[in-house]
Amino acid sequence: MPVITKDLVSVLINTGGSTRVAKPVAPRFRVGDRVLVRTLNPEHHTRLPRYARGKRGTVEHDHGVFVFPDTSAHDEGEKPQHVYTVRFVARELWGPSAPERDTLRLDLWDDYLDPAP
């Protein structure tokens, strides 16, 4: 891996590097769809928080196509797919003692989701 030199610092900071992928990948879900988060317990890197596994939510926004970290973190390919903001009511995640009105938004990749039965 090349070493970042002093001259490169401002370039890297000012441009960054989006993991957005300009590839036409079909989304598996649409805004408004009810989804069930898959119960996965990978030993490797994942962006799927444990508290959301097995929970139901609603797709609120489709952010487009991004690299899938679960595979790219292990040199197993980009596996580009859609990332959605999914809305959960607090009670779905934390049970009946959570305030009825409160909610949580979490961005999830296609491979973390199934249609809610």
């Binding site: 970042i4 030199t5 490169l8 508290y51 305030p99 909610t103 949580l104 938004r105 961005d107 999830l108």
Partner: protein, 205 residues
Amino acid sequence: MAEHAHTAPPSDPELRIKALESLLAEKKLIDPAAVDAIIETYETKIGPRNGARVVARAWTDPEYKARLLADATKAIAELGFSGAQGEDMVVVENTEEVHNVVVCTLCSCYPWPTLGLPPVWYKAAPYRARVVSDPRGVLLEFGTVVSDDVEVRVWDSNAELRYLVLPRRPEGTDGWSEEQLAALVSRDSMIGTATIPTPAPGAAP
């Protein structure tokens, strides 16, 4: 006589960082001058004053606010703020009905171009673990009371989007300039752990 020994060794984490840095430099895996340049950038050039300018612009320019809520990355770049950890931005607006608060439960994802590097508490396990399950309790510890008829909306930003909260403009600031307004905007109000108090009468302009 001073109460503390003048030659107290650095803390364990400090020693560990020094050891790691010199080892990485010796192995030519990092360039210490580059590390210094990164630190200097985030100590002196990039920080929450950038985000405050975005907020003040949104408060004073309805068209800018509309652009910001529709495509935050582009609208923030209009003010010159973009780059690492701000590649894909979302701005969420606090209203009478909704109070937003941002966390990264995975680690420390945070919008660097607008807020700089995250504070220690943002990266600490207690904040990350608790603000998702008991946001009102955590907000209370920050001195922020959210009324029961307001929805608390937690944003767990551990994917690729980075979130900035657009706080509510405080009462009593009619006619204030963008610059005066920006001075009111705290870092924590843009994370969502704080709100912006009404300034004392006569504070400005």
